[in-house]
């Protein structure tokens, strides 16, 4: 076996080995059962409910749940915006960093509240330690917990037996933070420090290099934020270049840990789903559909990065991997693995610069985001996004055989399908319409760095990343322009809440239905046939919507590259 294959196999084995027990832990947690952490954390949990006057045993209707999600996220947005605008007056600002401009603060606040963590700013230049910790780190936790809570509510909609209620947002949120995110973040942060990730509140250090030049070394509380940025599929780096920065990802070990953290909770959610609906095969079917698409994408990226850039090979006279915008300690393979994982998972952190990847790799990254981040996807968000495709897939299957479609015994009817289509439409609206606006408005077009088809890819990537709540970038794109900070902010809001609210609506509608026992005519949703149907649905609905745009961007670039064209 080649080293690439061994690397990928070991990574996937470790991932599943960790995700299965975590999925079991989460299923127990959200059903209100005792977990290993209950004795230590239950008093803290109860205290939070008391102060917040939350009645933990009160299950909400889908409307009440949705209102709670929106109220909590709105409060988080206002607070974060205020912190960013006032950081000049706030403590823990040894570098004397000035307040953020209004449009950039809007963009950043939306970005972190929606779990996107798109960075139109550069952390070490534009954020104080206070903003990083009290502002961003908090949203890293609670935006992730929001996605997890919504996914659990949607699962309850499928799993419950006609009670019509989908759980309590405040307890789902609090439990996600206390029993899942915080313990794993503490372990991750300390492991990262042991590898050399910085964690301090000191001023930047001025060094005098061996050749006598002054070099300012950025510092800060990085490890605590990086652990949760990976775990919560947030992805917003402490430093501008994210996990490519040696202080953010210093060794191969820190790289593997972060790569695992990117996909850990999204993969675990498949298994949580299976347990909560009372049939683990259903979870495995979803996992299989996601896994097949992940491995297929990874194969393309790994091959295309290892083959390298033929135009560069011509110049240096030898073939080899594409290393522009990559770090030597990671090389092509670990960068390809990370890039595929981070775009599949709506994480958006990077350990290499995606703008400089080969066109076919860029194609995979774009595809992963444009289909709505459902190949494992964001924590929680990936699962409820995939359940949206499940609703559409069983509907298509129902049309083909002329039966009312069912999933897990619940009839999928006009209301559920309409809501699923409504949610699905936010992706083409945010990506295609907004990207089209960006290429016709001259001020917006000025943000494009590269000429030729790669320039279009930059625009598509920016809006794909924002609407998919991913947060990674083709970073040559001038995202700090006020046109884009504003439009990107709207795209992120659309990609988050225009999917969350309809999905909760679907959950509410399903929660009111009493499941029917399977009959001989029931289409089984746990076998290979269903897995194939689900993949085909994602490819047809997601892929064909965006194929024309992808043909003009990365595909045209690949053809130009083969022809030796320079732009």
């Amino acid at each position: 076996m080649t080293p690439v294959l061994v690397t990928v196999l070991l990574y996937l084995t470790a991932l599943v080995a960790l995700a299965v027990p975590l999925g079991r832990h989460m299923a127990r947690l959200y059903r209100g059962e005792r977990t290993v952490l209950t004795p230590a954390l239950a008093p803290v949990e109860k205290a939070i409910y008391r102060v917040a006057s939350v009645r933990a045993d009160e299950s909400q209707s889908w409307r009440a749940y949705a209102v709670a999600v929106l109220a909590f996220n709105a409060a988080g947005f206002v607070f974060l915006y205020a912190v960013l605008r006032l950081q000049g007056l706030l403590p823990w600002n040894p570098a004397g960093i000035a307040p953020m401009a209004p449009d950039l603060a809007f963009n950043t606040a939306v970005s972190f509240v929606t779990n996107t963590n798109w960075q139109a700013y550069s952390g070490e230049v534009q954020l104080s330690y206070f903003s990083q910790m009290v502002g961003l780190t908090v949203q890293n936790f609670v935006s992730a917990a929001t996605g997890m809570a919504v996914a659990i509510a949607v699962i309850r909609g499928f799993a419950c037996r006609g009670e019509g209620r989908i759980g309590n947002f405040w307890t789902d949120l609090t439990r996600s933070v206390l029993y899942v995110l915080l313990p794993l973040a503490v372990i991750g942060a300390l492991l990262l420090v042991s590898q050399g990730v910085v964690q301090n509140l000191s001023s930047y250090v001025t060094a005098t290099t061996l050749e006598g030049v002054e070099q300012v070394l950025a510092q800060g509380p990085a490890a605590s934020q990086i652990a949760i940025k990976q775990l919560g599929t947030n992805g917003g780096g402490y430093f501008g270049v994210n996990s490519a920065h040696p202080f953010e990802n210093p060794t191969v070990l820190s790289n593997m840990l972060q790569s695992l953290y990117i996909l850990l909770i999204p993969v675990a959610f498949c298994f949580t789903f299976g347990r909560m609906v009372g049939d683990h095969r259903q979870g495995i079917a979803i996992f299989a559909a996601m896994g097949v698409m992940f491995v297929a994408g990874l194969a393309v990226v790994a091959w295309s990065e290892a083959a390298g850039n033929p135009l560069v090979s011509q110049i240096v006279g030898s073939a080899g991997p594409n290393l522009e915008g990559k770090e030597m300690r990671f090389g092509a393979t670990l960068s390809a693995l990370w890039g595929t994982a981070t775009t599949a998972a709506s994480n958006g952190s990077v350990n290499a610069m995606h703008d400089s990847f080969m066109p076919l790799s860029g194609l995979v990254f774009l595809f992963n985001m444009m289909i709505g981040e459902v190949i494992f996807g964001g924590v929680g968000a990936g699962l409820y996004g995939m359940l949206l495709y499940v609703v559409l897939a069983v509907f298509l299957a129902g049309l083909m055989v002329g039966r009312t479609p069912e999933y897990l015994g619940k009839k999928i009817e006009a209301k559920e399908v309409s809501l699923a289509v409504l949610a699905f439409l936010s992706m083409p609206l945010g990506i295609l319409v907004f990207a089209a606006l960006s290429v016709v408005v001259p001020q917006a077009l000025a943000a494009v760095q590269d000429a030729g088809p790669h320039g279009l890819s930059e625009v598509l990537y920016a809006y794909g990343s924002a609407t998919g709540n991913n947060g990674s970038a083709f970073a040559g794109f001038g995202a700090a322009d006020p046109f884009h900070t504003t439009l990107q902010g709207l795209a992120m809001l659309l990609g988050r809440y225009a999917i969350i609210v309809p999905m909760l609506g679907i959950a509410g509608a399903l929660a009111a239905k009493i499941p029917a026992a399977p009959t001989a005519g029931t289409f089984p949703t746990h076998g290979p046939l269903f897995v194939v149907l689900l993949i085909v649905t994602v490819l047809i609905l997601g892929g064909l919507t965006f194929f024309p745009a992808l043909a003009l961007g990365p595909l045209a670039e690949q053809v130009s590259l083969a022809a030796g064209t320079r732009f």
């Binding site: 949120l173 000191s202 050749e211 490890a223 270049v241 490519a244 030898s318 990671f330």
Partner: protein, 190 residues
């Protein structure tokens, strides 16, 4: 109205205290006590002054030192960055052409390691490939007037990876190698 927003505001306030204050401060405390060198950026001190970080590349141009990979941001460790140029960019390819010529002139070798002529992701990549280090060894040997075997031994000692023999390529830490050069052959650098 307040009753309606009470759970939202109170939960946000408590989560802010827990995850935005207690969590990062606790991690900072433990890190500073248990792993102070790592937590503060793996700084290297010589005679009381900080000469850099073991993790961060610094620029070297003297022939008696090993040289790092190209940096798109001039090794500015307070503002890291990359070229972000796409694979068909004329600007990228012209830059690679220039670097290839310069590298061949500098080392006298014709086989150019790809990482020696491409900019890193952070602009602060502390490492180079083994073949790059070996190619530069001839120049360093001549400039230092030292035995080539000794120079290669220093390269070998500054080499890490692949991790567990599998993950990631072997790489040579440039600053570590250069510090070892200065220690073994003082006065070699001018």
């Amino acid at each position: 109205m307040l009753a309606f927003f009470r759970p939202a505001l109170a939960t946000l306030a408590l989560m802010t205290l827990l995850t935005g204050v207690a969590y990062p401060l606790a991690i900072t405390g433990v890190a500073q006590v248990a792993m102070p060198v790592r937590a503060n950026g793996s700084q290297i001190e010589q005679e009381g002054t900080v000469i850099g970080s073991e993790l961060i590349a610094q620029d070297f141009s003297s022939p008696s030192y090993f040289h790092p990979r190209p940096s798109a941001i001039g090794f500015d460790a307070a503002s890291a960055g990359a070229s972000n140029l796409g694979p068909t960019s004329a600007e990228l390819l012209a830059t690679v052409e220039e670097r290839t010529e310069a590298w061949r002139r500098d080392t006298g070798e014709s086989d150019v390691p790809l990482e020696a002529v491409t900019a890193s992701a952070s602009g602060l990549d502390p490492d180079i490939s083994l073949e790059n280090a070996h190619a530069q060894a001839a120049r360093v040997t001549e400039a230092r007037g030292a035995p080539r075997d000794e120079i290669l031994r220093i390269v070998h000692e500054a080499t890490t990876g692949p991790w567990l023999g599998i993950f990631g390529p072997a790489h040579v830490n440039v600053l570590e190698a250069n510090l070892a050069l200065d220690a073994a052959f003082p006065g070699g650098a001018e």
